[in-house]
C-alpha cells in the first residue's frame, strides 16, 4: 500500500488494529447524529407516557397524536438506523483492518439520511402528518412526510452498499485471515435484511407519495399493509441482527469471550435472513382477506426457525461469557461466573440486561402475539407496544447504549467521565423499560387500546369503561417511563460530556475497568470441541427461560378458550 494511503490510518493501541480515519469519522458522525435523534424521540416518548398516565393527562388530543407520531419516527427509525450505520462501518472497516470502500458515498448516504429525517420531522411538527409511524392508508399525510422517509431510506441503502463494498475491498486486499469475525457476520446479516427492508419500503412508499400528490387515485389498504410490514417487520429484524452482533462484540471486548461454536452462531444468524422475510403476516392476523393457511405458514414457516435463531443466541451469548469467566477461575457453583461478572462496567451491565430482557419480555410476548388465534386477544391493544418496547428498547436501544461506552474510548479516544452516573445508567434505564413493557402488556391484557388519548372515553356519546386495574397499570407505566427517561438522560449526559471533556487518550490504551479483559488465548482455543468446559449456569438460565416460555404460551391459549365462540 502506498504511503499516502497509510497516512489515512492510525494504529489502535487497544487492539493493534489499523483504524481507517475516514471510516472513523463516519462512525463518529453517524453515532452522534443517532444520539441526537434519540434525545428528541425520547422526549416525545415521555410526553406520550405522561399523557397516557390518567392522573397527569398532559397533552391535548391533537398534540398527543402528533407527539406519538414523532416518537415512533425518531426513535424507531432515525436513532436506530443512524446508529446501525455506525455499527456497519465499525464491523467492516475497523474489525477487518481495512479501509472503507468509498467514504465519499458514505457521506452522500449520511446527508441524504439527515435531510430525509429532518424533512419528515418538519412534516410531523407542522401538524398535518399525524398518521402514526405506520401511516395506514387511506389516512393521508403531507407529501413531504413520505418524501422524507424515502430520501432517508435511499441514504441508508447507500450506506449499506458502502458496507458491502468494504467487505469486497477487505477480501481483495487480504486485510484479514480466514473468515470474517462473527460480529461482522452478524452485521452482514443485518445489511442483507436491510436491503430487503428498504426495497419493500420503496415499493409501498413511492406509490403512497404519488397518491399524496394526486398522481395515483387509490391504494388498497390491505395491500398497503402487506407491503408496508415487509419494511416494518423486517426492519426490526435488522435491529435484532445488529444488537445480537453487539452482544457478541461487547462479550468479546470486555471479557475476551469467544463463541462456543462459530458454526452454530453463524447458522443462527442465517436463520434470520432465511426465515423472516415475509414477516408482515404477523401484522395481518386480525385482518380480513387472508387465509388461515397463509397466516399460519407465514408467521412460522412451519417450524419457527427465526425464533430458533434467537433461542440459540440466547444460549450461546451467556454460554460464551460463562466459558470465558470459568477460564479466568470463577468456577465455584453454578453462578460464581455471573456474580463476579463486571457489573460495574456499564458496557457489560447494559449488554447482559439487554440480553435477558429481550428474551423474557420481548421474545416470549412476540411469539405469543404472533400466534394466529392468540393475536385476537391483543391485536392493537397496548400489549403490542408493551411487546416491542421489550424488543426494540430493552433489546436494541439498551445494547446500543452499552456499546457506546466502548466506542467512546475506542473511536473518540476519550476516557469516560461521570463514572458513577455511567455505572447506574443501564440499571436505571432497564428498570424503567421493564416497567413500561410489563405495564403496557398488562393494560393490553385488560383491553386498553394503543394510540388512544382518553381511556375514560369522557367525550364519547356511548360510554365504555375499562377495569380499574387498567388505570393503575397506566399510572405505573407513567412512573416507569419517567425512570426510563432519567436513564436516557444519564446516557446522553455521560456520552456528550465524555466526548467533549473526557480525558484525551491519545495513542495510549484506555484504563481497563476491572476485572481485566485479557483472555489467555491458549486456554480458550478449544471451545466448540470436546475440550469445552461444562456450563451449568447457562443451562439453568435457558431452562428457566424455556419453562417460562411454555407456561406463558399455554396460559394465553387458556384465555383464548374463554372467548366467545367464533368461526
Amino acid at each position: 500500500m502506498s504511503a499516502s494511503a497509510n497516512a489515512e490510518f492510525r494504529t489502535c493501541p487497544e487492539t493493534g488494529l489499523k483504524v481507517h480515519l475516514p471510516a472513523e469519522k463516519l462512525i463518529k458522525v453517524n453515532a452522534v447524529t443517532a444520539v441526537i435523534f434519540l434525545a428528541v424521540g425520547g422526549l416525545f416518548g415521555l410526553l406520550v407516557a405522561l399523557t397516557r398516565w390518567p392522573a397527569v393527562h398532559l397533552l391535548p388530543a391533537d398534540l398527543f397524536y402528533l407527539a406519538l407520531t414523532a416518537h415512533g419516527a425518531n426513535v424507531l427509525l432515525f436513532w436506530i438506523i443512524f446508529f446501525e450505520m455506525a455499527v456497519l462501518y465499525f464491523a467492516s472497516a475497523l474489525l477487518l483492518n481495512s479501509r472503507l470502500a468509498t467514504p465519499a458515498w458514505g457521506w452522500v448516504g449520511y446527508w441524504l439520511m439527515l435531510v430525509g429525517a429532518v424533512l419528515a420531522n418538519i412534516a410531523v411538527l407542522q401538524g398535518d402528518s399525524t398518521v402514526m409511524f405506520t401511516s395506514y392508508v387511506p389516512m393521508k399525510a403531507a407529501p413531504h412526510f413520505y418524501l422524507g422517509l424515502i430520501v432517508f431510506a435511499v441514504g441508508a441503502l447507500i450506506g449499506v452498499f458502502v458496507f458491502f463494498a468494504t467487505l469486497v475491498v477487505a477480501k481483495d486486499e487480504n486485510t484479514y485471515e480466514g473468515s470474517v469475525p462473527l460480529v461482522t457476520f452478524g452485521a452482514i446479516t443485518a445489511a442483507v435484511i436491510a436491503v430487503f427492508t428498504i426495497v419493500s419500503g420503496a415499493i409501498i412508499l413511492i406509490p403512497t407519495f404519488l397518491w399524496s400528490i394526486g398522481l395515483i387515485g387509490y391504494i388498497d389498504p390491505l395491500v398497503y399493509k402487506v407491503v408496508w410490514w415487509g419494511m416494518g417487520h423486517s426492519s426490526q429484524q435488522i435491529n435484532v441482527s445488529a444488537h445480537v452482533a453487539v452482544w457478541y462484540a461487547i462479550a468479546a471486548l470486555v471479557l475476551g469471550a469467544k463463541p462456543l461454536s462459530e458454526k452454530v452462531s453463524r447458522v443462527a444468524f442465517l436463520f434470520y435472513i432465511l426465515f423472516l422475510q415475509l414477516a408482515s403476516a404477523h401484522h395481518l392476523l386480525a385482518e380480513p382477506g387472508m387465509s388461515e393457511g397463509w397466516k399460519v405458514f407465514n408467521t412460522s414457516y412451519a417450524m419457527y426457525l427465526a425464533v430458533l435463531g434467537s433461542m440459540i443466541h440466547g444460549l450461546t451469548v451467556p454460554g460464551s461469557i460463562e466459558a470465558a469467566q470459568r477460564e479466568k477461575g470463577y468456577t465455584h457453583g453454578a453462578f460464581e461466573w455471573l456474580r463476579k461478572a463486571p457489573w460495574g462496567n456499564p458496557a457489560f451491565a447494559g449488554m447482559f440486561l439487554s440480553l435477558v430482557m429481550f428474551g423474557f419480555l420481548g421474545g416470549i410476548s412476540g411469539v405469543v402475539m404472533g400466534t394466529e388465534q392468540l393475536n385476537l386477544l391483543m391485536h392493537n391493544t397496548l400489549y403490542v407496544p408493551g411487546h416491542f418496547h421489550g424488543t426494540v428498547v430493552a433489546g436494541t436501544t439498551l445494547a446500543f447504549m452499552a456499546v457506546t461506552y466502548l466506542l467512546v474510548p475506542l473511536i473518540f479516544r476519550r476516557g469516560l467521565v461521570l463514572n458513577k452516573m455511567a455505572q447506574w445508567q443501564p440499571y436505571l434505564f432497564a428498570i424503567g423499560v421493564t416497567g413500561i413493557s410489563l405495564f403496557m402488556m398488562g393494560a393490553g391484557t385488560l383491553g386498553v387500546a394503543r394510540r388512544h388519548w382518553d381511556m375514560t372515553f369522557s367525550d364519547a356519546v356511548v360510554s365504555v369503561s375499562y377495569p380499574a386495574g387498567a388505570f393503575l397499570m397506566m399510572g405505573l407505566n407513567g412512573v416507569f417511563a419517567v425512570l426510563a427517561t432519567l436513564g436516557g438522560i444519564f446516557y446522553i449526559v455521560v456520552v456528550v460530556a465524555s466526548i467533549l471533556y473526557g480525558p484525551k487518550l491519545g495513542d495510549k490504551a484506555a484504563p481497563k475497568p476491572a476485572p481485566a479483559a485479557a483472555p489467555r488465548p491458549a486456554a480458550i482455543a478449544s471451545y466448540g470441541s470436546a475440550g469445552t468446559l461444562k456450563l451449568p449456569g447457562t443451562a439453568i438460565l435457558v431452562t428457566v427461560f424455556f419453562v417460562a416460555f411454555v407456561l406463558y404460551y399455554y396460559v394465553n391459549w387458556k384465555y383464548l378458550a374463554a372467548l366467545w365462540p367464533m368461526r
Binding site: M139, G289, Y304, G319, V461, V464, S529, T532, R567
Partner: protein, 181 residues
C-alpha cells in the same frame, strides 16, 4: 473472539458441543409444537377468526347497514338518538365503523349465532369488544363476516383501537346481549 476471525480456519468442521446440540433440538421441537398447536386449534378450538371476506364499495356497505337498522330497530339508546337494532338469531348483522362511531347499537341473544359483518365507511378502524377483549381489524372496501356466539349477557362496549384521526378516542359503540326468549 467474536471480533476477530475464527481461530480455527476450518470452523465449519468443528464438532458442536453436546449442550448446544441439545438446546437446538429442544428449541426446534418446541417450534414444531407451536406450529402444530395453531393447526390443532383450527380443528378442536372454538375461537378461529373467519376469513370470509368480500370486496364491497363503502357506499354499498353503508346502504346495507342502514337497511338492516331500519328493518330491525327496536328502540333508541337513551337520548342519543342512536338506534338499537335487534336482528333475528342466525341472520346477517351489519356493523359500520366510521369517523367516529360504531353504528348502530346491536342487541343479540345469548347462545345464538350471528353472521356479524364488519367494514368501514372511510379509514381503517379497530373493532375491540370490551371487556371480552376480542380485537379485529376493519378495512374500508372489505366486508368481513364472522359467525359469533355471545356466551354471556350484559352491555359490552366497542372501542376503536386503530388510530383514525383526532376523534379516534371518541369512537365507541355497544352490543347488548340478552337472555334467549
Amino acid at each position: 473472539m467474536a471480533v476477530t476471525p475464527p481461530t480455527n480456519r476450518v470452523w465449519w468442521n468443528e464438532p458442536v458441543e453436546k449442550m448446544e446440540l441439545v438446546w437446538v433440538v429442544i428449541a426446534f421441537l418446541w417450534g414444531l409444537v407451536m406450529f402444530a398447536t395453531m393447526i390443532v386449534w383450527h380443528i378442536v378450538g372454538q375461537q378461529n377468526l373467519s376469513t370470509e371476506t368480500y370486496r364491497i364499495k363503502p357506499e354499498a356497505y353503508v346502504a346495507k347497514v342502514e337497511a338492516m337498522a331500519e328493518k330491525f330497530k327496536v328502540r333508541e339508546e337513551g337520548s342519543t338518538g342512536i338506534p338499537v337494532v335487534k336482528p333475528s338469531a342466525g341472520s346477517d348483522v351489519y356493523l359500520l365503523g366510521r369517523l367516529w362511531d360504531w353504528w348502530p347499537i346491536l342487541e343479540l341473544e345469548k347462545g345464538q349465532s350471528y353472521r356479524l359483518h364488519l367494514s368501514s365507511a372511510d379509514w381503517q378502524h379497530g373493532f375491540s369488544l370490551q371487556p371480552v377483549n376480542l380485537n379485529i381489524q376493519v378495512h374500508p372496501g372489505y366486508d368481513h363476516i364472522i359467525t359469533l356466539t355471545p356466551t354471556e349477557t350484559g352491555a359490552f362496549g366497542i372501542v376503536c383501537n386503530e388510530f383514525c384521526g383526532i376523534g379516534h378516542h371518541q369512537m365507541t359503540g355497544k352490543i347488548y346481549v340478552v337472555e334467549r326468549r
